[in-house]
Symmetry: C2
Subunit: 157 residues, 2 copies
């Protein structure tokens, strides 16, 4: 059975275990359907590879809601809540998702900082189904070491 | 530059080269946006792994339009047109798609038979964005060796 390694909570972030239908020719992996309560509207589906021993972040979307899963490999996803009106303002949440027992969908509303770290010795693949197509004007970036987000990435992972 | 290995044509099947945005931390891979001419409506996004030296097929969807790409690995996709009214009735088309120079989206309308074969030594991953959520009652299956489809899979590949 899948077990999500989840540390802390963030208001508006949802997690959903996804089916991996095992087949000797290759498994079928669910992600998102139009009748899911986590689906709002379709903007874009794209992928982000993450190489072994690397970390991508920090990024924030001002408008986009993301639905993320990891159909190959395994990652640590960290989300930081800097929204002044949020009940979880100041929280940092951590999720270890991917294959081999942690195949989950993570639903991330806008205005949250997030980053990814590879937890696999091979490339991991992050799939992201958003409610708006990519628009570089609605996202913000911060360096991993900016000191503005209270989370220290473990560079040995 | 990408080059699609495409053999024959099928009416209604479209191919689109997709961007791979190279990054030392891991590439970003486009798939489908809501403003694409190949996008109609969102039904489901899911994945199908295909193990090395294996073939999945044949399958036909009576209602579903599929948008397929291969963000990891490489496959041979074969489509057979058995639609009586089609201008390409009786044609079999073959596409080699995946990473390393063949990163394409293939748009497949309903009522076409199709199958996949792995062309990689590792697992390949097929992503499928459809216009209707999965409904087993609208698909048909045929064994690879039924003799009803004029294509011989090369089992050595």
């Amino acid at each position: 059975m899948d077990s999500l390694k989840e540390v802390n909570k963030i208001e508006g972030v949802s997690t959903q275990p996804l089916k991996e239908i095992t087949d000797s020719l290759g498994s079928v992996l669910h992600m998102l359907r139009s009748d899911s309560p986590l689906f709002n509207k379709f903007g874009e589906i794209y992928f982000s590879e993450i190489n072994p021993k690397t970390t991508k972040g920090w990024k924030l979307h001002e408008k986009v809601t993301q639905n993320i899963t990891v159909p190959m490999g395994k990652i640590r996803l960290v989300i930081y809540d800097d929204r002044p009106e949020s009940s979880t303002h100041g929280n940092t949440a951590e999720y270890q998702i991917g294959r081999n027992g942690n195949y989950y969908l993570i639903h991330i509303p806008p205005m949250l900082w997030y980053g990814f770290q590879s937890l696999d010795n091979q490339k991991s693949l992050i799939a992201n189904c958003t409610d708006l197509p990519h628009d570089p004007s609605e996202s913000r970036l911060l360096p991993l070491d900016s000191g503005k987000i209270p989370f220290q990435w473990d560079s040995t992972k």
